[in-house]
Symmetry: C2
Subunit: 385 residues, 2 copies
C-alpha cells in the first residue's frame, strides 16, 4: 500500500437549501474541493449518501454527480452505511488510492433532508435500524437513542442536565463556523427548557436534519508534494461493525464498533488517545457523544458525560470535540456528516479554523457512526505529508 | 498493489423468495461462499444493493448482513450504482485487497424485488435514471430502454425479430442452471408473440425482476495458494461512467461507459476481445446485449445484433454470452446481478458449469451496467492464481 494525503476540501453551508437539489449541492462541494486542490480532474468519485432514494427519488448518484461536476466518464459509485455513509465513502477512497490503482479520488458526502415532510424524513431515517426486529415495532431513530440515554442515566446515576455541556460546547463553536446551521450559543437554561422529542432526548440533545454536501480530494502522498496546498496525511483509516438492533448487543451502552475501529486506528497511527489534539465525534445525540468518548478511550465507562460537565471538551480543554459545531450545531446532513467531520479536522490541521483554531494542532481524529452504533469509521489525520 | 484472487463463490436460486427476507438470502450466499472457500472469516463485507430502502425499508445492509452471517464486528458497507451495484461492490472489494490493507473481503450482491407490487418495483427502478430531467416525465426503466431499441432499429435498419437470438440463447443456457429463474427454452415463435411491455421491448426482450443473492470471497493472491480451491485470478478491474440521462449523451446508441471500462480492462489484462473465452454481459434487455457487444469490441457499431442472428453467441460460438442464462433467463435481481455474473464466470473457469461447460475456458469477462449505461464495471478473470 502507499500513503494517502488530502489535498483539497470543500463544503456547502449546512441548512435548508430548498432552491438547490441533491445533485446541485454535491456539485458545489466537489468543485470547491477540486478548486482547493488546484486540480481539474480525478480518477474516481465516491459519493456518501443515505437518503437520496427515499427523499429525492434519486439513486445512482455516483455517475450523476460526476457528470454534473464536469467529470463525465470517471469511475463513480455511492457508498452507504446509514449516517456513517460519509466516513465509509472516505474509507473506500482511501483504499482505492492506497491500492496504487487510482492516483486521485474525490469523496463527496451529500444529503438533502428537507425535501419531504419531517414525518417522512423521520420514517426514512429508521432504515438505519433493523427493519424486521426493531423499527417494525414503531420506534423512531430518536427514540432508539432515547432508550440508550435512559439506560445510561439509570446505570451510571446521572441526570438530563449532565448532558448539557455537549450541546453548549457545540453551539458555542458553531458561532464562528460560517457553514454551520445554528450559529448561536445556548445556555444551560435553554437546554433545560428545550421541548422533549423522545424522553429523555430533548431538542437540545438532538442534531438537526439538514441539507449539505462536503468533499475531499485524496491523492497518493508522493503526488501531494507537487500540489500547492498544505497537505494533510491520512495516518489511519479503520472501520468496524456491530449488530444493527440495539437489543442484540451484549452491552447496549458500549459502542463496540466505535471501540474496534478506534483501537485499530490508534494501532495504525502508532498513537494513543492522549496524542489526539481534537476529536470530531458523532454527536448526533448527546448520549452518542458520551458513549463515543468512552469507546475511544477518552473516558472510562460511564464517565464520558463527566467530560462535558468538567469542560474538558472545549477548545482549550483536554480533548476538544465538535470544534466547528459538531453534528449538533453545524447540522447533521446524514450521509454527508462523515465528510464534514474530516473537512473540519483538515481545517484545524491547516490552521484554517478561524476563531476556533486550536493552537499546536498536529493530529486530529474523526469518527462517523451509522445507526445507533452498528457502523463506525475512524480516521486519524496528521498535518504534513 | 497486489494481485487478487477469488477463492469462494456462493449463490441462491434466483426467483421469488417470499418466505425469505433480504438479509436471509444475503446470509445464505455469504455462508455458501465462505464454505466454498473453506474459510470462516474475512476482514470485510461489501454488499451490492440498490433497492433495500425502497422495497424492504432496510438500508445499512453491510452491518446487518455481517452480523447475521456470524461476522459481527468486521468492516462492512453497502455499494450502490443502480443495477451496477453488484459489479461496483466487487470493484471495491478488489481495491481493498489490492491495497494490502485487507487480506480477505466478502462481496455479496443481494436484491429482493418481489416484496412490493410490480408497480412499486417499477417506480423504484426509475431511481436509476435522472429523476429531475428524465424520469420526472414519466418513462419507466423499460420504456427508457425501449427508446434506445427503437432508435437502434431505425438507425441500423433492423427488426424486432433480429433480437430474438439473444433471448433464445439465454433461455437455452438457463435450462441447465439449477439457480436460474426460467429454466425452459423458448423459440423464435414464442419470442415473436410475446406481449409488448413498451414497444418495441416485449416480455421476451426484458429480464425479469427477481430475488437473489450471490457472493464471492476475494483474497490476496499470495494467500490463495494456501487454500484448497481452484483459484481464479482477477486479471482486470475497471469502472466508467456516462451521463445518467440518455438525452445528455452525444450518441445514445454508444455505451461510452461500457467501452471505457472494457478498454481499460483489456489494457490491464494485456488482452484483446479475441482473447476472451466467454462474456457475461448485461442483457437486462436484448438491446443492451447488442450495444454491449459493440461497446466492448466484439462487433462494429450497429452489428451487435447480427451476432445473435448468426449464432455466434452460443456455447459453441465465437463469443459465448449469458452462458448460465444471463439476466434474461437466470433472472435479474438488480443489485445482485453483477455478482452473479462473476460467480458464473468462475464456474466456467473452474470447470463447474455442468452441461454448459465451455471447453478450454481460460479467460472470462463480466460487465455489469447501471441505469441505461451510466455506470459500467468490467472484470476479466483468469483460471489459476
Amino acid at each position: 500500500m502507499r500513503d494517502v494525503t488530502i489535498v483539497g476540501i470543500g463544503q456547502t453551508e449546512v441548512g435548508e437549501h430548498w432552491e438547490r437539489s441533491l445533485r446541485d449541492i454535491a456539485v458545489d462541494a466537489v468543485l470547491a474541493a477540486l478548486g482547493d486542490a488546484g486540480l481539474e480532474h480525478a480518477d474516481a468519485l465516491y459519493v456518501g449518501n443515505m437518503l437520496g432514494g427515499a427523499l429525492s427519488g434519486q439513486q445512482h448518484l455516483g455517475a450523476l454527480v460526476a457528470d454534473y461536476a464536469g467529470l463525465r466518464g470517471i469511475e463513480a459509485a455511492t457508498i452507504e452505511a446509514a449516517c456513517g455513509s460519509g466516513g465509509a465513502a472516505v474509507r473506500q477512497g482511501y483504499l482505492a488510492v492506497a491500492s496504487g490503482l487510482l492516483d486521485s479520488v474525490i469523496v463527496c458526502g451529500v444529503e438533502k433532508m428537507t425535501e419531504e415532510t419531517e414525518a417522512e424524513t423521520a420514517a426514512a431515517l429508521t432504515m438505519a435500524g433493523d427493519a424486521e426486529y426493531e423499527t417494525i415495532h414503531g420506534p423512531s431513530f430518536v427514540s432508539l437513542n432515547a432508550l440508550l440515554m435512559r439506560r445510561y442515566m439509570y446505570e451510571f446515576g446521572c441526570e438530563r442536565e449532565d448532558f448539557a455541556g455537549f450541546a453548549i460546547n457545540a453551539h458555542r463553536n458553531a458561532v464562528n463556523n460560517p457553514n454551520a446551521m445554528y450559529r448561536r450559543p445556548i445556555t444551560a437554561e435553554i437546554f433545560g427548557r428545550a421541548p422533549m422529542l423522545s424522553d429523555p432526548i430533548s431538542l437540545m440533545d438532538s442534531s438537526p436534519n439538514a441539507d449539505g454536501a462536503a468533499a475531499l480530494v485524496l491523492v497518493a502522498t508522493e503526488r501531494a508534494h507537487d500540489l500547492g496546498h498544505d497537505p494533510v496525511r491520512i495516518a489511519a483509516s479503520a472501520a468496524g461493525s456491530d449488530s444493527v438492533a440495539i437489543h442484540d448487543r451484549r452491552d447496549p451502552l458500549f459502542l463496540a464498533a466505535a471501540h474496534r475501529s478506534a483501537a485499530e486506528a490508534y494501532r495504525q497511527a502508532g498513537v494513543e488517545p492522549k496524542d489526539i489534539d481534537l476529536f470530531e465525534l458523532h454527536d448526533a445525540f448527546t448520549i452518542l457523544a458520551a458513549m463515543s468518548l468512552e469507546a475511544c478511550g477518552f473516558a472510562k465507562k460511564g464517565e464520558g458525560v463527566r467530560l462535558a460537565k468538567d469542560g474538558e471538551i472545549g477548545l482549550d480543554g483536554r480533548i476538544p470535540i465538535s470544534t466547528m459545531g459538531g453534528l449538533k450545531a453545524r447540522g447533521n446532513p446524514a450521509g454527508a456528516t462523515g465528510v464534514y467531520q474530516i473537512v473540519e479536522v483538515v481545517q484545524q490541521l491547516r490552521g484554517q479554523a478561524g476563531k476556533n483554531q486550536l493552537p499546536d494542532c498536529r493530529r486530529g481524529m474523526a469518527q462517523n457512526i451509522g445507526g445507533t452504533g452498528a457502523t463506525a469509521i475512524t480516521h486519524i489525520l496528521e498535518a504534513g505529508s
